[in-house]
């Protein structure tokens, strides 16, 4: 493993991220000033503020200074991880968001992991038996899966499984009456996690399934598969050791590229199930017109997407030797 060229590659990708970050900061800044109304109102959000507070804000952001100077001030704040302050929550924006992050990561992580795994296995299975009844059903179900608004699916699941069948709790991440420590707590959280995770993974599973199936079919028709069979390799090994490794490359890329979309899905899912993550925070902030939180979320979520892209590229480079080995 030539670690040096891998590091150079990662470094290059990170550097490419810088201009994107710049644009994001620029967008935030532009919005503060381009939106109708006084920039101060934006910075206050929907809450009440005392005149002293407003004065303080004016000074802090240098609102009477020329625009370019304000921009420099703004950038320097961001670089020091100061994303503003939310009056409504009485907390700095960044710590507010970071506090909600674990819940979102738990939901996303679980859902993405299981849906990717199941999607790939189903895709491989379908590729080996094309045009079977199972194949057609699965294809149709997956098409339905990604035509559905995720929040509608969530509501339907809530109505059926939580409200009428009462198999699962209707909202939140944990029950007040459940144990707050140890294994009982884990079980409780897991119980709450099931419905949102299933709702949320539907889209992703459908996507991964469709892609894996197509790619596997393509790869299984390639020449080196014939060579493997001519060597006497058993069919199972041909499929998993030879074909899958090649077919999975574009799937890895798609998982990464789709991350931004999946974040959006998490917002909507969290809102349906009142899951206390960043998505729910977004919903609350929209309702309260808490602009600092909204802008902060936009920044943080964009950074997460960029990180996801870089990680995807790195994973791809690790799996495909053609990238790093010249």
């Amino acid at each position: 493993m030539p670690t040096k060229s891998l590091l150079i590659y990662v470094g290059g990708r990170l550097l490419q991220a810088v201009p994107i970050l710049f644009v994001i900061i620029l967008i935030n800044f532009a919005l503060i000033h381009a939106a109708p109304g006084d920039p101060v109102d934006i910075l206050i959000g929907g809450a009440d503020a005392t005149p002293e507070y407003i004065e303080g804000l004016r000074r802090e952001f240098g609102l009477d200074q020329p625009l370019w100077q304000q921009f420099v001030t703004y950038i320097s704040k961001i670089v020091q991880f100061d994303l503003g302050y939310s009056l409504r929550y009485r907390e700095p924006v960044l710590s507010l968001i970071l506090g909600r992050m674990p819940a979102t990561l738990l939901l996303m992580g679980t859902a993405l992991f299981f849906s990717s795994l199941i999607g790939i296995l189903l895709g491989v299975f379908a590729a080996r038996r094309p045009y079977s009844a199972g194949d057609y059903t699965a294809t149709f179900v997956s098409l339905a899966g990604y035509s559905m608004p995720v929040f509608w699916l969530g509501q339907i699941m809530l109505v059926i499984f939580a409200l009428h069948l009462a198999w699962f709790p209707t909202q939140g991440m944990y029950s007040l009456r459940a144990p707050s420590q140890g294994f009982g707590r884990i079980l409780d959280v897991a119980h709450h996690l099931v419905l949102p995770a299933i709702t949320y993974s539907f889209y992703h599973l459908a996507l991964i399934y469709r892609l894996t199936r197509i790619k596997m079919q393509e790869v299984l028709a390639l020449d080196f598969i014939t060579t493997a069979r001519a060597k006497g390799v058993a069919e199972g090994r041909v499929v998993y050791r030879h074909a899958l490794r090649n077919a999975i490359l574009p799937v890895v890329t798609v998982i990464g590229l789709n991350f931004g979309f999946m974040l959006a899905g998490s917002v909507l899912t969290e809102t349906v199930f009142a899951w206390p993550g960043m998505g729910r925070l977004l919903y609350e902030a929209v309702g309260a017109r808490d602009y600092p939180v909204l802008m902060g979320l936009f920044t943080v979520l964009s950074v997460m997407v960029i990180c996801a892209n870089v990680i995807t590229d790195v994973v791809y480079a690790l799996v495909d030797p053609r990238v790093v080995y010249r």
């Binding site: 919005l31 098409l143 608004p149 929040f151 339907i156 109505v159 931004g260 959006a264 919903y283 929209v286």
Partner: protein
């Protein structure tokens, strides 16, 4: 292994399209939904937003086909009105962003070099920035009106089309028939419109179709979060209202959502079918 000794006539596009049963079903459903959206306000007994046209929270019945909500509004009428809004936003946004994408991609592909590099950087940046959140931000800042929502969605969806068109331009630019036309003295515009664009059109149309569905989902998501136009009925907004009362009134969520689902599903099916017609190499036929 076989060698073709005679080439069969190319089937008409309808033949190809209709071979895929799913797409035909999708097209039919789409037509039905359109008809519903257009005709319903005229035919339906109940006005879309009017409250107290029936008992509050009434389940579906012959009078109220999809029941009523807590304010006594007929769900079917509202949903049909919301559907027309969704369709309008979907198609409108897709049209605008296709236009944007074609122009940007075309400029990049045709002129190449620095213009291409600049525009591609721009495209890349827009592709990475999470679309949904920027839309949330834009609508929250500039106000929630149908117009704003449409523009927000349109402005964020052009990267894919731009990439496609640029790719087509780049590959076709160096092909012989363009050179031949150029040698024959064809002006640049006629080259673009006569030669290159028609070839690029296939995948663009497919992409645009799928984009309508995505735009509809995006619009529904925005109104679900409370960023919809308050003056117009919207399917997403209906679902937001349903969140509180769906425990006792499942029809307030099932039917509006079903409309969105059917619309997007049929668009995806039609898009699949169009891929067969317009983009044969993608399917390997």
């Amino acid at each position: 292994m076989t060698t073709i000794t005679h080439i069969p006539a190319e089937p008409s596009w309808w033949r190809i399209f209709s071979r895929n049963r799913g797409s035909v079903v999708g097209a039919v459903v789409l037509v039905v939904l359109f008809a519903l959206a257009i005709v319903a306000p005229m035919l339906l007994r109940f006005e879309a937003g009017r409250i107290d046209v029936g008992p509050s929270m009434a389940p579906p019945s012959l009078v109220h086909l999809m029941g009523t909500d807590e304010l006594g509004r007929d769900v079917f009428a509202r949903a049909a009105a919301g559907l027309s809004v969704s369709l309008m936003v979907g198609f409108g946004a897709a049209t605008i962003s296709t236009f944007l994408g074609v122009v940007i991609g075309g400029l990049a592909g045709f002129f190449g070099r620095s213009i291409d590099a600049l525009l591609m950087r721009l495209t890349e940046i827009f592709q990475v920035i999470p679309r949904f959140f920027l839309a949330v931000l834009l609508v929250a800042f500039f106000g929630a009106s149908i117009f704003n929502i449409l523009i927000a969605i349109a402005v964020l969806s052009w990267p894919e089309i731009a990439r496609l068109v640029r790719g087509e331009f780049l590959s076709l630019r160096s092909r012989q028939f363009v050179d031949a036309a150029r040698v024959a003295g064809a002006a640049r515009t006629s080259l673009i419109f006569g030669e290159i664009l028609p070839n690029a059109l296939g995948p663009v149309v497919v992409n645009a179709t799928l984009m309508v569905g995505q735009a509809m989902l995006l619009e529904a998501g925005l109104s679900y979060l409370g960023l919809g136009d308050p003056t117009k009925a919207s399917l997403g907004q209906m679902l937001q209202e349903a969140q509180q009362i769906m425990r006792s009134a499942w029809w307030t969520t099932a039917f509006p959502g079903m409309f969105i689902f059917l619309a997007v599903l049929s668009l995806n099916l039609v898009g699949d079918g169009l891929t067969d017609v317009l983009n044969p190499r993608a399917r390997g036929r």
